[in-house]
Each structure stands twice: as C-alpha cells, then as structure tokens.
C-alpha cells in the first residue's frame, strides 16, 4: 500500500506542477493555434531564475514572479519573430529555444560566480538551508509526511495550479482575454475592431511561456537543484497533458478548460506512475510519453470528427 500512496503523492505533485505549463499551452496552442517549441527553453529559464534568486535569499514567491517575467519576455521574442519577421511558428520556437540553451547556461554560470566566458558551475543546488517555497510560511507549517503524502509540497503545488487556473479563467473573461480568443479564432475580426492582431498573438505567446517558466520554477523547487537538462521533453509533457485533458473531459458540461487541463496533467503523470509501479524502468519513460501523446491525439481527432469540427 505504501508504495502506491507514495507514487500517488508524486503523481499529484507533478500533475499540478506541469499543469501550469499545460495551461500555457492552452493559450498558445488551443486558443492561438500556435505549436510553440519555445517552452523547451523557457521552462529551464524559469528554473534558472528561480534557483539563482532563491539561493541568493530572495523570497521564493517573488522568485516565481521573476521566473514568470523571464518566460514572458522570451515568449514575447518568439511572438515578435513570428509576427514582425513573418517566420513560421515552428522555426520561431526552434530559434528562441536554441538561443536560450546558451542564455540559460551563461546565466547559471555567472549567477554561480563564474565568468562570461563560460568557466564555472552549470548546476545550482538548493541545499538544506535555502528558504524555498516549502521551507517558508505557510507551507512550512504542514507535515512533510502524512500517510506517505508530503503535504508541504502537495499544498504548494496545488495552490500554484489553482492560482494559475483562476487567473487564466478570469483573464479570458476580460476584454484583453476575449480579444486574444478572437485573435486565435478569426484574426480578421480583431483587425476590424481596429486592434493589431499581431499584438494579441505576441501577448498570448508571452503568457504561454511565462506559465512554462513558472512550471520550470516548480520543477526546481521539487528537485532541489537546477541542471541544464530540465527543459528536455517539455513540449510533449505540456501538449499531451493539454490534449488528454481536453479530450477526456471535453464532454463534461460546465467544466472549465483550465480544470480539464489540470485533470489531463494528472492523468498523464498517473500513466507514468503506473508504468513505474509495474516495474518499467524509467529509461523507457520517453517512449511511454510519446505513445501516450499519440493515443491522446488519436482520441481527440476522433472526438472532433464526431462533433464535425474541421480544424485540427
């Protein structure tokens, strides 16, 4: 029983952690129809910003906001490449995430006291004394083992997912948010409203990557360290969670898409957790991830056909 509870604990933590990335994809992919590969870089950027700031003694909640800002900025660059320079969506993401490999590395090294030539430590370790999200009030008051559940982590990650869900729901009902939905739906309509549809697109990509960076910050919080491999596989995790969520819960009335996305993220992590419980070695994780993603795409394709939607 205990291993199951332990792995349920991890599934929930990771599910909430990655759901923010997936909500970002809800904005960039579902709403704007933009397959954004930038997250592969911005997740790590968020992690680096968070790691460096927390290690320097900055309040970790403020460090999360700083990660958000970094992701917002880099996502904006992707948007500008696409809108102003008319570069294709996939290429924009590849360009920015490639550049971010250097940016993230140099920032880590310099933040660690190294030089701009690249000599220095490329990892950040949040040792036992660094005040992270779980080590300060209010999470610090919770038990770290409650029937196998780490309540400190679980509460922090759940609260973060909930906050971002609420912010997203409220934002999409504002004028700015509705204009963003219009920009994804019919860019021409935005033009007729005397607004630059390019600006809405840039904003959407900035938000999508800001969310990705927050997920990155939580990944670092969860692992207790930064390494340069953190961004790998994030596109698949984000998109698969999104698509699983929307196709599994798509028919449930009055369920907000953001709630579906959180559900999808948990289902996705649960599948990985079950595979691990069944004894599949973690080296096969990426194959399982790709297979799950394929399954989700097939299911969502079938559902769309049933509903008679032409767009994919």
């Amino acid at each position: 029983m205990q291993p199951i509870l332990n792995s349920l604990d991890v599934v929930l933590q990771d599910g909430f952690m990655y759901s923010i990335l997936a909500m970002g994809y809800y904005i960039s992919y579902s709403i704007l129809d933009f397959p954004d590969l930038t997250v592969e870089g911005t997740v790590l950027s968020g992690g680096v910003v968070f790691g460096l700031l927390v290690k320097a003694g900055v309040n970790p909640y403020i460090a999360v906001l700083a990660a958000f800002a970094a992701g917002f900025l880099f996502g904006g660059v992707t948007g500008i490449l696409n809108v102003k320079l008319k570069i294709r969506p996939l290429l924009c993401g590849i360009l920015v995430s490639t550049a971010l490999i250097s940016v993230n590395l140099v920032c880590t090294i310099v933040g660690n006291g190294g030089d701009f030539k690249g000599d220095g430590l490329s990892t950040i370790d949040l040792g036992r004394s660094v005040p992270t999200l779980t080590r300060i009030f209010p999470a610090s008051e919770l038990p770290s083992d409650f029937y196998g559940f780490n309540m400190k982590k679980l509460a922090v990650f759940f609260a973060m997912a909930l906050i971002f869900k609420i912010i997203t729901d409220v934002f999409l009902k504002t004028k700015c948010g509705l204009l963003l939905r219009a920009a994804g739906d019919n860019p021409n309509y935005v033009t007729m409203l005397a607004k630059n549809q390019g600006t809405s697109k840039i904003l959407g990509l900035a938000i999508g990557n800001a969310y990705a960076a927050v997920s990155g910050a939580l990944i670092v919080q969860s692992r207790g360290n930064v390494n340069q491999g953190i961004g790998i596989g994030m596109v698949v995790i984000g998109l698969a969670s999104l698509i699983i969520g929307l196709s599994v819960f798509g028919k449930v009335k009055f369920m907000k898409p953001t709630t579906m996305v959180i559900g999808g993220s948990i289902i996705y992590q649960a599948s990985l957790g079950i595979a691990a419980l069944l004894g599949v070695p973690t080296v096969y994780n990426k194959i399982i991830m790709a297979a799950l993603f394929t399954a989700a795409l097939i299911v969502s394709g079938k559902l769309k056909k049933k509903r008679g939607v032409e767009r994919d």
Binding site: K173, C176, Y189, T191, A194
Partner: protein
C-alpha cells in the same frame, strides 16, 4: 471622403502577372451611398480592400478627407470603417457566442484592458439590435456563432459592423448568402441604417435591382476600370435593361 489618385495594383502569380488597376482614380463624396456592380473578377473586392487597407497599392495615393492614408495599416483605418465581407465566415468569431462577439465590437475604438468583457446590462441592448434583422437571433444570444447558418452570420456581421459610429460602411455582396426574402429584409435594414446615420457607404452587389433601387450613385466595373458611373437624377433614370445591356455588350466584346 475617399480619393484614389493614379492607383496601380497588380497581383503576381507563380507564372503570370495580373495587372488589375492601372492609373485608377476614383472619388466618393461624403454621405453618398455608392452601389458597385461588375462581373466576377472585375476588381470590386480588390477596390474595397484598397479602401480598407487589406491590400496595399503598388503606387498611387489613397486619401481620406484629403489626408494621405496610403501607408496607414488596415487595423488603424478600421477605427472609422464598418465592414461586411463577401465571405460570411469573415465577419464574426465562430468559437465565441453572439453576446461575446457583440461585446467585443461594442468596445471598438476603446482600450481592451483587464475589465470584464461582457457587461450584463448591455445584453438587452444587443438583443434589441439583432432583433431588427428579424432572424430570431435574439433568442440565441449564448450560442456559438459558428453554429449559425451563413445567412444568419452575415446578418449578425452587418449588425456588428454598425455597432459603433463609423464614417464609412463597406459592404461586399452582404446579401448574397441570404434567401430571397431575408435578402430583401436585410437590404431594407441596410438602407435604414445608412439613411438613419447618413453614413458614406460602398456596397458591392450582383443584384442589379438593388444597385438601382438603393443608393444615390451606381458604378460598374470591368477589368479594373470603371465603365459606368451615374449619380443623382441620371442614376434614377437608369433602367435594369440599360445596365444589363451594357453588362452583356462588355462581356461579348471580351469574348466570354
């Protein structure tokens, strides 16, 4: 209101180049209601695109109230232009509800900030607006626009294009997707709007009767040129047969 001065516009295809407008000049008086007719491919939609800035001329100038707007992007010109496109899909957002579409349009010209998009107090007003086109849309305010028929969407697009005060109304075959009776209703509705607001209007139509019955000026286009342009009394004196005769003779001359 609108002036085209020596406008050139050609489209480059993969193999050939279509020279559509060559040294094209055109003037529209403030407050006039111009009906534009002409065969398929004669350049009517492109003319409207040039007016709105969706297409930029190769050379020449486009002026609004004497000011040079040639380089002003489409979204900035839209501030004072209401437009209904030839394609019903173009004028609304399919994934948003009627209310959401109208709430967005209601805010045109203002800031799209972080205040709630839909003001519940305005919904009755929106219902009143759509009820005027007589399609029962007022009972379907919360359905996604994508589930409406093409004609219903086009009628909604017309209402939306007139929600804020514009200086110019641009209509591209806005009744073409409608059944005969609805088409009549929408045309009469259009006329009420135009007369009520006294707004300068450019209306493209393939319906010669509408072109003669409505508006105070008629323009016929052919291969990027204006081949007939009558206003006022001269226009009133025109009969369908006159226009149809000219239409046919041009087509025969060109061998189609």
């Amino acid at each position: 209101m609108i002036d085209f001065e020596n406008v050139y516009k050609s489209f480059r295809g993969s193999v050939d180049e279509t020279k559509l407008f060559e040294d094209f000049s055109f003037h529209v008086e403030t407050g006039s209601f111009v009906s534009i007719i002409g065969s398929n491919g004669s350049g009517k939609t492109t003319l409207l695109n040039l007016v709105c800035g969706s297409v930029m001329p190769d050379s020449g100038k486009i002026l609004f109230d004497g000011k040079d707007y040639t380089a002003v992007p489409e979204y900035k010109r839209s501030k004072t232009i209401g437009r209904v496109h030839q394609d019903p899909k173009n004028g609304t957002c399919p994934e948003l509800t009627i209310v959401e579409n109208m709430a967005l349009a209601d805010n045109k010209g203002k800031r799209y900030g972080f205040t709630p998009a839909v003001n519940k107090k305005r919904i009755d007003y929106y219902k009143h607006l759509v009820s005027e086109c007589g399609m029962g849309l007022e009972n379907r305010m919360n359905v996604k626009v994508g589930s409406l028929s093409g004609g219903q969407r086009q009628a909604l697009a017309l209402v939306i294009a007139n929600m804020t005060d514009n200086k110019l109304l641009v209509l591209d075959e806005h009744t073409a997707a409608l059944d005969p009776k609805t088409s009549e209703n929408i045309m009469a509705f259009t006329d009420r709007i135009v007369k009520g607001k006294g707004i300068t209007t450019l209306m493209v139509t393939h319906n010669l009767r509408y072109a003669l019955e409505y508006g105070d000026r008629i323009v016929m286009m052919h291969e990027g040129k204006i081949v007939l342009d009558k206003a006022g009394e001269e226009k009133k004196a025109l009969e369908i047969d006159d226009v149809l005769g000219l239409f046919n003779s041009i087509s025969i001359e060109c061998g189609n």
